[in-house]
């Protein structure tokens, strides 16, 4: 299952607030997994058993794994296996939220059970097929929004998430989209897609996010928001829209085209048409993707 949607799942289902989620996402890359959480996820221990070992730790002052072996909850072999297993990103998010006291182990156990059944996944590691299969998730994602997202919008988002994974990294989490009538921009670029429908697409982010975004996209370090940083944002929007219209043109007889990149630094944009705001949260900041439907 994708971490990208775990944050969205937690938020949408009322398990956490945005104020709890965003700092947790920011610490994701530095978080250490605990054997207890890995044991819970792998099914070797229940939340109740973990709680018991934590209480024993307070009494005996020994390591969790040592006590779990001593009291027969884990074998030495299982501890070694857990220590050598790479935790999926979404579990790291779960670990941070436990550390922050947002969840107890019992709550995380219930959430993981529910999340797993919704996602119909059983494997610990993702395979490439799963990783690229965003379709159903985008369907679920779009249902949450306040207004139905048009069909092409779903294909667009599916490709967008894939391109974020490919060019920026898979450590993002989506928040539910919302409708938007005006937006205060910072580092903002746009591009129009035109054909049998017309949409304006935007990327917006603050300066610190733009720097980190550009570093990931181009692989070069940046210290200030210069033309290369802005070009990185433009490039991904242009590349993504280009790939989208190639796919859309291959799938139908309707030809689409894209316009030149527009720039909207530090201004207020008023939207006169139905406009969706999609927050995409990375550890380094939030990228806002905006889609304004001009005509269908």
């Amino acid at each position: 299952m994708f971490n990208q949607f775990f944050g969205n799942y937690l938020f949408s289902n009322g398990h956490i607030t945005k104020e709890q989620l965003l700092p947790a996402l920011a610490r994701q890359s530095k978080a250490m997994m605990h054997v207890s959480t890995l044991a819970l996820y792998s099914g070797y221990m229940s939340a109740q058993e973990i709680q018991h070992v934590i209480e024993l730790q307070e009494e005996e002052g020994k390591k969790f794994s040592e006590l779990a072996i001593k009291y027969g909850y884990l074998t030495q072999h299982q501890v070694m296996e857990l220590l050598n297993t790479k935790a999926p990103d979404f579990l790291i998010l779960g670990q941070i939220l436990i550390n922050d006291g947002v969840f107890t182990y019992a709550e995380l156990e219930n959430i993981l059970t529910d999340y797993r059944s919704q996602a119909e996944f059983l494997d610990f590691e993702l395979n490439d097929e799963n990783r690229n299969d965003f379709h159903r998730l985008v369907e679920d994602f779009s249902i949450i929004s306040e207004a139905a997202i048009p069909e092409f919008g779903k294909s667009y988002l599916e490709l967008l998430f894939n391109n974020f994974v490919r060019y920026i990294g898979d450590d993002f989490s989506t928040l539910p989209p919302s409708l938007c009538t005006e937006f205060a921009t910072e580092c903002c670029v746009s591009q129009t897609i035109e054909g049998h429908y017309v949409v304006n697409t935007y990327f917006n982010m603050d300066e610190a996010t733009a720097l980190a975004f550009a570093e990931r996209y181009s692989g070069e370090p940046y210290h200030e928001v210069d033309e290369y940083v802005m070009a990185s944002i433009e490039d991904l929007l242009n590349l993504h829209n280009g790939l989208f219209i190639v796919n859309a043109s291959n799938d139908s007889l309707n030809e689409l085209s894209i316009g030149v990149i527009g720039h909207h630094p530090n201004t207020i944009i008023n939207f006169e048409n139905v406009t969706y705001l999609f927050p995409i949260c990375y550890p380094f900041g939030i990228i806002y993707f905006i889609m304004e439907i001009i005509s269908l």
Binding site: Y167, S218, E227, Y228, A231, S232, E234, D235, N238, L239, N241, G242, L243, I245, V246, S249, N250, E255, L256, S257, I258, G259, V260, I261
Partner: protein
């Protein structure tokens, strides 16, 4: 002609895309590099310097890539123009080739394709 003796015009409104192409070119040689950030600039630059090879984007301000190809080909029917664009639709491809483009490279920029083009058109 060797790659180092050649002149290459890179035309893209993205400074990052131009830099990426320049960085790739520097791997295989040191030709004279010319740059333009829009179609109009590409035409002017071509007429002023007559480069041996042009890497040209399609979606650009002030005359798009297709118009730039037509005007460059009208000026020099032997111009070698490689489209480097994210817009690789069938009709776009057809349009560019009919206008006189020699080849089409789909973005994201692929190092091997750029080097192949350099070897093919400059390393002769």
């Amino acid at each position: 002609m060797s790659i180092d003796e050649g002149k290459v015009l890179i035309c893209d409104d993205s400074i990052l895309a131009r830099k990426q192409i320049k960085d790739i070119i520097s791997i295989v040689g040191n030709p004279t590099i010319l740059e333009a950030s829009d179609g109009e600039g590409a035409i002017e630059m071509y007429k002023a310097h007559k480069p041996d090879l042009v890497f040209l984007d399609i979606v650009m301000p002030k005359k798009d890539g297709n118009i730039a190809i037509e005007e460059i080909m009208a000026y020099d029917k032997d111009a070698v123009i490689i489209i480097v664009s994210s817009v690789g639709t069938h009709s776009q491809l057809k349009c560019a080739l009919e206008a006189g483009a020699t080849d089409f490279i789909q973005k994201p920029i692929n190092k091997i394709q750029i080097i192949d083009a350099l070897n093919k058109y400059l390393g002769r």
